[in-house]
Structure formats: C-alpha cells, structure tokens
C-alpha cells in the first residue's frame, strides 16, 4: 500500500462538538489547497453515544476517508477504545486524560482545562482543532485564525482554551505531521448540497420534503438558502403529501423535487404511478440507509436498487441514475431534472448516506449544468395527451384559455376518462413509445463511467465507486472500473463488450442486487461479488486487499 494521504479522526459524544471538529479539520486542509474527504459516523441519537469524523487529505484527488488514522483525537474514553486499533503505523492518539487512565498516546486533561471556562461540556470539542494544529505544525497565530474562522463565536474563551491544548500537544508531538500545501483551494460540499445545487441550477422552483435521514439535509440546506436561491421549500405533513403536492406544483408549471429515504419513498409509490399516468415531470431523490424498514438510519447501504427500479403499479417510463461522486451528484441532479421535464417522466436520483452526507473538495461545473425546459404547446386547440410520434405531448399550464386536464384515469387525448378498448390501447401505445424515446435520448448521454483500461475488470456504482477508486490508488492496483451511472434505462448498449467477461462486482448490499442487475439485464455474470453490509462504507486499504484476493 502506498499511503500518501493523511487521516485525522476525531471522536467523542454527540453534542460535544465532534462534527464541528471534523469539518474544521476538513476546511483547514482544503484551505491548504489539498484534496479532502470527510466522513461523519454518528448513531441515531442527539447527545452522548459515540460520534466520530474521519477526514483524509492528500495533494492528489481523494475519494474516500481512511480508517487507519495518523492522528486520532479522542474526546472521551469510548472514542479512545473505539479507535485505538485505528491508529496507522507512525500515528498517534491524543486523548482526554480526564476521561480515562493514563495509557498509550498523548494524554491531555481536556476536561480540566475546559472547566476553566464557561460551558465546559461544549468546549471540549475545540481540542480537536487545537491538537491537529499542533500536530501538523501550525503556529499559534495560525491556530487562532482557524478557531476564529471556524468557531466565530465566544472567541474570548475558545482561543485561550485552544491555546492551552495546543501547547500541551505541541510539547509532545508538535509538527510531527507536516503537511504539504496543495495546488489550489477548492470548496467542500456534501453530496446532499451538491444534489440541491444541481437541481437549483437546472431550474428548481419548489422543494417538498418530510425529514428523513439521510435525505434531510437537502431540506435544511434549501430551506436555509431559499430566498437567495429563488426557490420555495415546505415541510408538509407526510411524504405522501410531499409527493402529491410536488405533482400538483409541477402541473402548475413549477419545477418540483422531493427527497427522502427508502421508507419515505415507499409511501410515495402511489404518487409515482400517478406521475406516470398523468405524465407529470418530477425529480425524486432517494438516499439509502441500511434496511429493511427503519433499519439503521444514520448509516449507509445500497439495498434500495431493486426498489428504485420497481416502483409503481402499471407501466410507464421512468429514469433512475446514481452518482459516483459529489461532483457527479451536482451534474446528475441537474440532468435528471432536465430529463424529467423533457420527457414528462419521473426521474429518481438514487444515492446513499455515504455520498449524501460525506463532504469532499469539489469544483462544480455550474455552467455545464443541464437546464429543465418543457416542450410547450405552440398554440391552437390543446390536447394534454396528444398522440405524438415520440409519445411526448406538449405541455400547457393553467391559467390558459385552452383547457388542460391532467388525470390519473386512463384517458383520451384531451384527458377525459375512458374505458373504451381502443382508447386504452392508444394510450398504452403512446406511453410505450415514450419508453423508446427516453432510451433513445439516454443513449446520447454519458451513462457509464470508465476508469483505467487494464487489469481486472471491476463493476461498481453509486458511492461505492469512490471507495473502489481510492482502494485502487492506495493499493497501487491497475484495474478497469466500469460504473453505470444510469440504471434505468440500463445502458446495456455500453456494456455489451463485457458480456463474456467475469468481472468483480463491488457493492454495499447483502443480496448482491447490483450483481444480479448486471446478470439479468446485461448478462454479465460476476466471478466474485465483494459485499459490505454492516452500515459502513468500504475502507480503501481493506478493499484493496479484497480486490487483490479476488483478481
């Protein structure tokens, strides 16, 4: 393994400022012009328990955190115990010596120092930034600047507290991990922010969502920024309301999006079928967590693929795609919003907690974002469901002098209910043609990403792509990675060349859904399926080992 990345883990209780300590570190690395990947690991609770943030950084692209850390800052004993095995060779643990007995590592009386200031329980987390600053050799002023920039408030206490910790750490391991500067400063975003901004770039008007981890932060981000972005957000009484309101809003001409996790999507299924019949554009974000059912709300898994592909009674075209990185999440959210409006279909952006909530340095191609533009009626008598050659009927929104009738019933071209055999066939044929139209168009898009061109053939999709790429980097493994971005229509036309190969398939599912999809749709039968389904993303070094064994 060639470890050219530096990893920092900070752990403690929820409510102790662990997340803040993690993002502070990530921002620091990014400000140094480095590439950064930040993963938050937290249980489903508000205070206490064990939270940690793993931040890995390098001067080259980095697409995963590592679990072997160079520097661990353990704010409590539980964190020490949890991460003592996670220290890389040459690494060190800085721990809170008030929370446990003297042990290996650098013990700092964090609690005792914090008690010299008001609200000590909230202050302990600041130790993270202080210890990191010392360990990578920042000077005191640089550290104070960092605290000022990141914590903003209560600096008259935070800076002296941090300074005390800094000094204690510096005494033991000051400058132990000097970090090179990178080429330029990049912003950092989570996948959820990328999705939100991608949709906004494509023309989003209305976002409707009911809170559900790991999709919730899309709502939070958009609600906070709605005025600046020129959009409207609302949290209605349920996912059912969200989906049906979104469909209503779209029928008024507003670009609408909803976002949820598996349980919420399940509740939207009836509405998705409605969108199919009424031919209403809708972008749906499905961010997965381990299932079935409530499952493990704050962790990651790729077990909703089959669900995403099988929603809704009856037959109607839909588009499902899953981004491999935070940058791709931005592009894809815009593209899926655009496709929804081009074809009046629902599009599902399938992702996972690991992408939704992980944060990485990224530069969005804002100018390249797709734009959602409906095919509009160009005057004259209007038929909502005009029987066109490609199955797509022009849109018209009320208020209009022509009558515009959207409907859930089978209908004639004007949208009036029908039970006549000939009408039913006509409309089934129209929707059937739309399947073909959509597929034809999707063929023109970049539906599959390929990385590398020699070595073993690996298939992965979604956030697992990031893990695989990082595993190859750290393992120094040459491989060809194929990542289908589009899952429905499934880009078999791109995959024919792999039909007789026996690739390694890597996914975060116990049942091997993705491997099954490849076998069923593309007739590509995996030689080995590398699975992880304990709620945690793949760890690059471990994954590299597994790939090596399988290859």
């Amino acid at each position: 393994m060639s470890r050219d990345a530096f990893t920092y883990i900070v752990g403690g209780k929820a409510g102790e400022g662990v997340k803040k300590a993690g993002s502070t570190a990530a921002n620091l690395f990014a400000a140094m012009g480095r590439h950064v990947f930040q993963m938050d690991d937290y249980p489903s609770l508000i205070r206490g328990g064990h939270n940690f943030v793993a931040v890995s950084t390098a001067t080259r692209e980095i697409t995963s955190h590592y679990m072997k850390a160079d520097l661990v800052v353990a704010l409590d004993k539980r964190s020490y115990d949890a991460h003592r095995e996670d220290v890389a060779k040459g690494g060190v643990v800085v721990y809170n010596s008030d929370a446990q007995e003297e042990t290996e590592g650098v013990g700092i009386p964090m609690t005792a120092v914090a008690k010299e200031y008001p609200r000590p329980e909230l202050r302990v987390g600041v130790s993270g930034a202080a210890a990191l600053s010392a360990a990578i050799g920042l000077d005191k002023d640089e550290m104070a600047d960092l605290i000022t920039k990141e914590y903003k408030r209560d600096l008259e206490n935070n800076i002296p507290f941090a300074t005390a910790i800094y000094e204690a750490v510096a005494e033991k391991i000051g400058g132990r991990f000097p970090l090179e500067k990178g080429d330029r400063e990049r912003p950092m975003f989570t996948g959820n922010t990328a999705i939100a901004l991608g949709a906004v770039a494509a023309g989003l008007d209305v976002y409707l969502a009911y809170p559900m981890t790991p999709a919730t932060t899309i709502l939070h981000y958009l609600a906070k920024n709605e005025r600046e972005l020129g959009i409207v957000t609302m949290q209605p009484e349920s996912e059912i309301a969200a989906a049906n309101m979104a469909i209503g809003a779209a029928a008024a001409g507003a670009r609408a999006m909803v976002g949820t996790s598996g349980g919420g999507l399940a509740l939207m299924e009836e509405a998705l079928s409605l969108a199919g019949m009424a031919e209403v554009p809708l972008l749906v974000v499905l961010s997965s967590r381990p299932g079935p059912s409530t499952g493990v709300p704050t962790y990651t898994e790729q077990a909703d693929l089959k669900m995403a592909l099988g929603q809704g009674h009856g037959e109607f075209p839909q588009i499902v795609a899953s981004p491999g990185t935070v940058g791709e999440a931005f592009d894809l959210a815009a593209e899926l919003m655009s496709l929804a409006w081009t074809f009046q279909v629902q599009t599902i952006l399938l992702t996972e907690k690991h992408l939704s909530e992980s944060r990485m340095t990224v530069e969005f191609d804002v100018d390249g974002a797709a734009w959602a533009e409906p095919r509009m009626h160009d005057g004259g008598p209007y038929k909502r469901y005009a029987d066109t050659a490609d199955g797509v009927s022009p849109l018209l929104f009320p208020p209009s002098s022509e009558t515009v009738k959207f409907t859930s019933y089978e209908h004639d071209e004007l949208g009036i209910t029908t039970e006549e055999a000939a009408d039913i066939t006509l409309m089934h044929d129209k929707r059937n043609r739309k399947f073909a139209t959509v597929e034809e168009h999707v063929r023109g898009l970049r539906t599959v990403n390929r990385f590398g061109s020699s070595g073993p053939l690996i298939f992965a999709y979604g956030s697992t792509t990031m893990s695989v790429l990082e595993a190859l980097r750290v393992g120094g493994i040459e491989a060809t990675v194929v990542q289908p971005v589009y899952l429905d229509p499934f880009p078999v036309w791109e995959l024919e060349e792999y039909r007789d190969m026996s690739p390694i398939v890597i996914e975060q599912s116990a049942a091997g859904q993705f491997a099954r999809l490849l076998a069923e749709k593309a007739r590509i039968d995996a030689a080995t399926v590398i699975k992880r389904y304990d709620g945690r993303a793949f760890e690059p070094e471990e994954l590299a080992e597994e790939i090596r064994r399988a290859a």
């Binding site: 020129g230 309301a241 008024a252 001409g253 208020p399 209009s400 009558t403 209910t417």
Partner: protein, 281 residues
C-alpha cells in the same frame, strides 16, 4: 370543452343523484366569478376518485383528476406552484375524511388558499356502498353487513378545530345558495371548506330527511364557539357560511408576493445564484 363549461363526456351519475346539483352550482358559480373578474382560465379544479369526482370530466375547467384521498394535496401543490390560480377541489366524504383525512386537517391548519367542496353522501358510493367516515352507526353496507360499528365524524367540527378560516355547509336541494357559497369560498383568501349534503339516491337517499332538516343560515357565527355549536346541531342542519375569519394564507406566509412559476428565473439568473451559493460554500 364547451362554452357553457360542459364537455363531451357522457354523464354516468344515477338519475336523481345529488351530484347534478353540485355540477350546476359550480357552473353558476364560475359564471358569477367571471362577472367579478375571476376568469375561468384562472380557476383550476381537482377531484379525488369516486362518484363525486366524475365532475372532473363534466366540467370544462383545467385541473387535475387526482387520487383517492390525495386531491387535497394536489390542490395545495397547484396553489403553491402558482398562487395566482384559484383552486377548487372536489372531494368525496371517503376521500376527504377517510383516506385523505390528514391532508384535509393540514390544509386547514396551514390555511392553504384553496377551496374544498366535499360531496358528503355518507358512503363510498362508487365502490358500491361501503360505510364511510360520515356513515351513521348501524349503516349496513357490503363491508358492514351487520351494521357500522363506528360513530360518524362531523366534518364541520373537524375543519373548525383544525383551523379552517372559512367553513360552510351547502345542500344540493339549494343550488343557488350553494353557488353563492362557492363564490364566497373562492373569494376568501385562505382555506375554505364546504360540506355539501349530497344524497346518493342509490345508497343514502336522504332527500326527504334533508328537505325537512336543512335550514338556511343567514350569517356566519359571531364566534368560534358559536360556529361549533351550529356545526353540532342535529335537529336542524344550518346551511350557509358558519364561520369566516381572516388569517394569512399558507402561501403568503411562506413566500409573500413570490410566485414560483411567474418568477421562474432565466437560466443565467439561476446560474448566477448557484455560483454565489457555491462561493458561500
């Protein structure tokens, strides 16, 4: 779609069904609204699924024939998307107080500026007469052959308690008054609810009873408590506006004078906003 607000769809309501009167009342109400400057192109309708909902096919208005129990959400979505629209939602009692109860309660709670007309026939008519939310205890339908074991909901009471700012009752035996209620409801800024007593000649033929008990109500109650008392009356059934107050509508409270559709930005405008947001990080 014809000038008289009709369509070419064949009307398949049972002869004598109370729904005909509602259809006539809407046509007349739209006429009055047009006279007052609310053009029919701005009036959009929604409907659930059921006998009541067939009104969607019979009325030459734009709108959305939605799902059983969800049309109130569709209606709110239309309004949220374009607050210039006047949204007139037609629901069944099963629709509104069975499958879709939560949407009704929340539409009232948040004072969404839509009008909901509930065709209350006390039964799931289109699915052949099962008991519904407003069926009497003892009602014998095919799913309750030994009699309904639940007491009915009182829709007016529920809507008042949920926060509706316009609560009215109409009767299909009083078409002109019903039309007037619809006009007032549409003009009201906020959530307007009209319970229409609509006998199903096939499953709940209560014309005779209603002709006896329904009495016109001259003016809205002076207080919430008085409105509740009116809503609870059983010996006579007051028809008219029971309650009306002013309160900011959901849409106004959420975004003031913004209009998502009318203010939809150009691509350049939007990209500038996104770039600014990316800059803010």
């Amino acid at each position: 779609m014809t000038d008289d607000l009709g369509t070419y769809a064949e009307n398949t309501w049972c002869p004598g069904c109370g729904n005909f009167a509602i259809l006539n009342a809407v046509k007349s109400a739209v006429g009055s609204l047009e006279a007052k400057g609310v053009g029919r192109e701005r009036i959009v309708m929604t409907a659930g699924i059921g006998c009541h909902a067939k009104i969607f096919d019979y009325l030459g208005l734009s709108g959305f024939y939605s799902l059983h129990g969800r049309s109130m959400a569709t209606a709110q979505g239309l309004k949220l998307g374009n607050p210039d629209l006047k949204v007139l939602g037609f629901c069944g009692d099963g629709d509104a107080f069975g499958e879709g109860l939560a949407h009704m309660m929340y539409a009232a709670k948040r004072n969404s500026d839509i009008t909901i007309v509930v065709h209350d026939n006390g039964v799931y008519a289109l699915t052949t007469g099962q008991r519904g939310p407003t069926s009497a205890r003892g009602y014998k339908g095919p799913s309750t052959p030994r009699g309904n074991t639940e007491d009915p909901f009182n829709p007016l009471v529920l809507m008042l308690e949920a926060g509706a700012t316009f609560v009215a009752r109409g009767y299909v035996g009083m078409v002109k008054e019903l039309a007037d209620l619809m006009v007032a409801a549409v003009e009201h800024e906020g959530f307007s609810f009209i319970q229409v007593l609509q006998p199903s000649v096939t499953f709940s033929n209560r014309y005779a009873e209603y002709n006896e008990t329904v009495v016109p109500l001259e003016q809205p109650a002076a207080s919430f408590d008085e409105a509740l008392a009116l809503a609870r009356k059983t010996e006579t059934l007051p028809a008219g506006i029971l309650y009306r107050i002013e309160k900011p509508s959901n849409e106004r409270a959420l975004y003031g004078d913004w209009n998502p559709v009318a203010n939809h930005p150009t691509r350049d405008e939007r990209l500038a906003k996104v770039k600014a947001a990316v800059g803010r990080g």
